[in-house]
């Protein structure tokens, strides 16, 4: 198969890559860019381990052709931390036991990040709705719910402080 030269913007960096046209975004991230944080847990778009943000929207990179997303801003779990500082969602999953084996964690983090961008004060039911495409086999979700709600609180406090400072 003839490879195609594509441009992909991932975590703020633009990459030029020669890839086969049938290559999935997940495989380009993992194999061509060495960003192995996004995982493959199933083969039928039903587990959420591969979730990345495409223009801020959480999507399944295992069913996305890489060539289709050349004009998009793609964010993977490796792009969540800024200047070595973890995102509040990452901090919360650490302290609240949101990650056990960690394999589903990147997907949960991306979905959670998108949820809290949109709604920093979700109810438990809203959290459960938003995370319903991401499967975790370890936690029974309880500590994930706690992690998400804790992250939300932290984000709200952070925003309040930022507003206070800017005043």
């Amino acid at each position: 198969m003839t490879k195609e030269l594509i441009r992909l913007k991932v975590n703020g960096e633009t990459h030029e890559l020669a890839i086969a046209p049938n290559k999935l975004l997940l495989d380009v991230l993992r194999e061509d860019l060495g960003l192995t944080g996004s995982k493959r847990g199933c083969d039928d778009s039903s587990c959420g381990c591969c979730t990345v943000l495409i223009d801020g929207m959480p999507m399944l990179s295992c069913v996305a052709l890489a060539t289709s997303y050349q004009d998009a801003e793609i964010t993977t779990v490796e792009g969540l931390a800024r200047d070595g500082e973890l995102d509040p969602v990452q901090e919360a999953f650490m302290s609240w036991g949101g990650a056990q084996c960690g394999f589903c964690t990147p997907g949960f983090l991306m979905t959670t990040h998108a949820l809290l961008e949109k709604n920093p004060d979700p109810t438990l039911d809203q959290v459960r709705e938003a995370l319903a495409s991401n499967i975790c086999r370890c936690t029974g979700y309880t500590q994930i719910y706690e992690s998400v709600l804790a992250a939300a609180q932290k984000i709200r406090e952070k925003r309040k402080n930022e507003i206070a400072i800017s005043k």
Binding site: D43, M59, L60, L65, S68, S133
Partner: protein
Amino acid sequence: MTMPGFRVIRPSSVDEAVRVLADNGPEAMVIAGGTDVVPNLQMRLFAPRVLVDIKGIGELRGITCNDRVGLRMGALTTLTEIAEWKFVERCFPVLGSAVRSVAGPLQRNMGTIGGNLCLETRCLWYNQSEFWRQSLGGCLKKQGDVCHVAPGGQRCWAVWSGDSAPALLTVEAELEIAGPGGRRRIPLAEFYRNDGMNRIALGRGELVVAVHVPVSSAFRRGVYRKLRVRDSIDYPLAGVAVAMKVDGQGICRAARVALAAVNPAPQLVHAAAERLEGKRYSAELVEEIAHEAIRTAKPLTTSASTPVYRRDMVRLFTRRALEELWQTRRGNGEKRAG
């Protein structure tokens, strides 16, 4: 699982897409959100030479709605966009209820209304890997000559497993289709062929461009009830969409009932419209319509749940939906299936 080899063409206009599709005929295949197509490609259910990625066609995006032409949804409108469209609950609650039930939130972020209306039919004996299917010598639909669901028959019973189609049938939606001969509009009901192997009436070079819903079916009360094991991710094991207009006196002024996942096509329960119109609520009438629904439903062993149970649930969900819509002041699509 690996992907088969193919070329990808990314047309930037509908005309260009139509040209590519016409040139390549059955060797071409359209991809939009990818949630249905990509797993099927990995299972080698399709082996297109050319994949036509339509995501770059701006004309296919977006929702417009006004009181002259009604609702128009571009084929690439995502299910999330429809679910979050601010008028969906007010104008077309059955549609909101149905799209919110599709798979899970991430699949809805990618999946498009066009894709959901063109979904491949599903069957436990078909939606399997190449190895799995070959261990059985294939099936009628793919690389074989036996239907494992109805052995001896020459008909494929793979089921229609989209949720939005039955909902759109209840509001008399139409499809706008572009093709080499120009654009045409057909009632959605005529789009489906009730054949598991040849599910939709789309000719060479044709592409679904948009879905239209007439003004006349706006403001119907509506709900979609979906039988599924889990409240997320699952395809329907059965689905019942009901939309109806009830006047101030409680008299039904219009009603449609449609089913998913119990036939190779989404199907209107034809008797429902005429029998309900002009009537007041009665438990007997509702039971009669529910009975009509199970006469329409022909579930076979294509999915995890038994045909008997799915028929039972079609009857129950029809009854529950009608009662809910008729007996409350407004249909509320929020109630969960079952």
